[in-house]
């Protein structure tokens, strides 16, 4: 068997024409989950706090706001958008696309491709690769790719400390209009039973010892190394790097294993203060980096989705970023907007209290 690690490169150069973030207002401190379920037997907190959506928020409403922020930066005619793809594992409907409602709300309907992607925490980056293909083949001028989740953890489970809400939207378009050019992507995917949720089940299950080395680290390292090797680069050629962030430690460790310094990952490491936003995690980190990056900065992004796989992107910032990034709210604006809640309010906001 020969391994083919050729990068995915569009025949027409593509990039990010607009980007937008969204993080809901409410924060549940990890110590509140600990107080409820661990008590004296606390095993330590994986993050400080996580972002929780309000009673009237879901993947559709959050996607609409992120996409509107991306549209403000892109300043394009929504009628020129030819695809709206949204990756999430918490779509509000089991059957009825989130993407059609989002497309309608941003004025992109009806001349569009629209679909909901599913691949655990990498569904959003999968949508980005598809958008690169559609624009890179010149079939479309612009395509919208979104990754957003309102993740749920089983009460008392380790995932309840971190399962959070938030995400980002990107308008992919021709490189010469882009505020950041995507040189290439590379994906590494295997059948790995680290995490799943069966139909009609509310909470996910995880394959205990599978979550760390065979899943998260293996896939991110393989995708990251292939990207570095195939593009003839090493960690020092990148200004910034961002990895999927299910907690604080995993992304710090995987960054170090790939040769990145703490300084390179700091601006994109948001999990300590907003939690694991699943399909939103790596790309929300990318928006926080774009908010502070300078023209010429090179960024490595590697997502991870359970099941399992990773998408890596090699991105270079252009001078158009400086003119356009102040046209919408920044990721840190949303993070600074913060109202702390207790476990009871969290239980109500997340539908854990039955009214009938």
């Amino acid at each position: 068997m020969t391994e083919n690690k050729t990068l995915l490169k569009p025949s027409r150069p593509v990039g990010i024409v607009g980007y937008g973030a969204y993080v809901p207002r409410y924060r549940l401190p990890a110590k509140e989950v600990d107080r409820m379920w661990a008590g004296e037997r606390s095993a330590g907190l994986p993050i400080k706090e996580k972002a929780v959506p309000g009673l009237d928020e879901d993947v559709i409403t959050m996607s609409i706001e992120a996409a509107r922020n991306a549209m403000k930066r892109a300043e394009i005619d929504p009628a020129e958008i030819r695809a709206v793809w949204i990756g999430s594992e918490s779509h509000p409907y089991a059957v009825k696309p989130s993407s059609t409602i989002i497309a309608e709300a941003i004025g992109a309907a009806p001349h569009v491709q629209a679909a909901d992607m599913e691949f655990a925490c990498k569904a959003g980056t999968e949508a980005m690769v598809m958008a690169m293909g559609l624009v890179g083949s010149s079939m479309a001028k612009y395509a919208v790719a979104i990754g957003i989740d309102t993740a749920q953890g089983k009460p008392g489970d380790a995932l309840e400390y971190t399962a959070a809400a938030g995400g980002a939207a990107f308008i992919i378009g021709p490189a010469d209009e882009s505020l950041a050019v995507i040189n290439a992507s590379y994906s590494f995917v295997t059948d790995t039973p680290d995490f799943w949720r069966r139909e009609y089940q509310i909470y996910p299950e995880h394959g205990q010892r599978f979550t760390g080395d065979p899943a998260y680290f293996h896939h991110i390292l393989e995708a990251g190394k292939a990207m570095l090797e195939s593009s003839g680069t090493s960690a020092k050629d990148y200004t910034w790097a961002v990895f999927h962030q299910p907690n604080t430690k995993f992304p710090q460790k995987v960054a170090q294993m790939l040769g990145f310094s703490p300084e390179q990952i700091t601006p994109g490491l948001l999990s300590p203060v907003i939690g694991n936003t699943y399909a939103g995690a790596a790309i929300l980190g990318l928006t926080a980096i774009l908010d502070i990056a300078r023209p010429g900065d090179r960024i490595l992004v590697v997502s991870f989705g359970s099941g399992a796989g990773s998408d890596a992107f090699d991105i270079v910032v252009t001078d158009k970023l400086l003119e356009r990034r102040d046209k919408a709210l920044k990721t840190q604006d949303y993070i600074a907007r913060r109202t702390e809640i207790d476990y009871a309010t969290y239980a109500r906001y997340r539908g854990k209290i039955r009214m009938k």
């Binding site: 809901p24 207002r25 009237d56 928020e57 609409i64 706001e65 309608e104 004025g107 907007r337 109202t339």
Partner: protein
């Protein structure tokens, strides 16, 4: 079940799409095809900026059917920058006190479900404290 009505109202509900009068330029919301200012025919679509301020407000403790699970919540008359007054729920207040004149901005949120948990989800405009 009011599915046809929800479908017909989606543009104005999702994105505050009203009308502009071609005769006197007055901006109209909700759309009604007749200008309340000059009486002329007006059916040119106009998307509002979503910016405005609280004109008046009240807090609902005894919520009507379909909204029980949201109580208590605040409903406001919002004066849009372009002129019209709209009634809508305020959201994302956190611990922010509501005041008359408070700048607000439109967001699209889940308003309710049509009937029980098997019904369609209805999305539409609300207003939150302005973030910028």
């Amino acid at each position: 079940m009011e599915i046809p009505r929800h479908w017909r109202l989606k543009q104005q509900r999702y994105s505050l799409v009203g009308e502009i009068c071609p005769h006197c330029q007055v901006k109209i919301f909700p759309p009604r095809d007749v200008c309340p200012n000059c009486g002329g025919e007006a059916n040119t679509p106009y998307t509002f900026s979503g910016r405005g301020e609280v004109y008046s407000y009240t807090t609902i403790y005894e919520a009507p059917a379909g909204f029980e699970d949201k109580a208590p919540y605040t409903v406001a008359l919002v004066k849009l920058d372009e002129g019209p007054l709209v009634t809508a729920q305020l959201t994302d207040l956190g611990d922010t006190p509501v005041e008359i004149g408070m700048p607000v901005e439109m967001v699209t949120r889940r308003l309710r479900q049509d009937g029980d948990e098997r019904g369609m989800l209805i999305y539409g405009y609300k207003f939150r404290p302005a973030m910028n």
